[in-house]
Point group: C2
Chain length 217, copies 2
DNA sequence: CGGTCACTTGATCGTCTTCAATACCAGTGG
DNA sequence: CCACTGGTATTGAAGACGATCAAGTGACCG
């Protein structure tokens, strides 16, 4: 985006901090802000009336959030760790869009990418086994890690809890735990106890598992 | 959208016909067209290497298709029945967007709505039981039917096969069949044999089931 | 008619869930 | 320093839901 436009955007932003567990937005509430995560990780999720939770995505530094079709949020946004986020008042953001076609263009690109990711996730939730889901998750998290780490880095940092991973993959916490143990025993990964980190020993094999090209026995 | 802009859009369109099973687009192929379904229904899906299929959505008359983040399609688009679609060459469509901000605005709205639908579907695939999934499907199809039928209409037309429904809901064809039978025995619905139609007897109860507020026993 | 296709129904099996016990760490206060 | 507590993760045993395998029905078609 052109520098002048970026400056106008920045002029509109307020940087806010959120503690772990704090809400950036809540499903069903009026959607009066959009966000850009600067630091930390947030979870996006929807709930069923009885409390079942589906995490539809995680957002890390540089991710944009808060697109809503209607006038209320379609999902809850909650800080996982200590989060800093650029916050824009929606009405002002909207009026800025009016005279900045480049911004709207960028938003459409982002939305399209999100949509593509959502389709991958549907494939995962509808058709992959527990083992394939966990392998996919680790591979994708690894890829995301490469945005900020050097290529060739094999350590995956998982800021989210097992419960979050389970609710993201459509599994239970026990199945996630068991599956990670199985991958460890097969020497595909190494777990870092009490550090929420995983080292990938064989990235290619893990990808093969993730895509259903291996049986993971 | 303003009439003048609509006219320019129409000038760019070619109406194409597709027979059942014919592809409008294929996953991985260069994305050089976008579509607007005029008549009929198409399925959008992704495949795993071993053939497992996840249908990410169906598109009916008036639905817009073909948004791609990259330069290739993220999913396959296949005609279910006899389909007519407005086809736009992507490059020309793109250049039209350049001078029509309203068009891009509309596309962003559509993409946001799609994204919201995708999140509902993730909730369904990750956290709902077979019974809840089928009930949700029927309710949503009913809602879609109201776009072209009078309100109060209780007949749901299902142009897609049981296999399609199964691949959309992350189930097998047998489970879909059994679940429909169960709903019929509970007198929530009436099946129209050999006609791919369903009559909803108790819409409220079906919605309650769909949202997990009832146990569907 | 024989053939295929879409769907239904039944019996059995396996994966993941549920329920439960245990381990481990961090923080708190005696 | 050490018990006590709460949160997170691992592991085991039992159970359920949906998948798989298999058979059967009716519609449509050459």
């Amino acid at each position: 985006m052109p520098h002048g436009e970026l400056a106008r955007l920045a002029a509109l932003a307020t940087i806010k901090r959120f503690k772990p567990g704090q809400f950036l937005a809540e499903e069903g509430e009026p959607a009066d802000a959009v966000f850009n995560v600067i630091r930390g990780t947030v979870r996006l999720y929807k709930l069923l009336p009885d409390g079942r939770r589906q995490i539809t995505g995680f957002a890390d530094a540089a991710d944009f959030l808060g697109l809503a079709a209607g006038h209320t949020y379609a999902f809850t946004i909650e800080a996982i760790d200590s989060v800093q986020a650029c916050t824009f008042v929606r009405t002002r953001f909207r009026s800025l869009i009016e005279d900045l076609p480049a911004l709207e263009h960028r938003l459409l690109e982002l939305a399209s990418a999100e949509l593509e990711a959502a389709q991958y996730q549907m494939l995962l939730l509808g058709r992959k086994s527990a083992c394939e889901r966990v392998a996919t998750f680790l591979c994708i998290r690894h890829k995301i890690g490469l945005r900020s780490a050097d290529p060739g880095c094999r350590t995956v940092l998982l800021p989210m809890s097992r419960t979050d991973i389970a609710d993201y993959l459509g599994l239970t916490i026990e199945t996630v735990s068991r599956t990670l143990t199985k991958l460890r025993k097969n020497e595909l990964i190494t777990l870092q106890p009490h550090k929420r980190g995983v080292i990938i020993n064989d990235l290619d094999a893990l990808w093969a598992l993730a895509e259903g090209c291996a049986d993971g026995s």
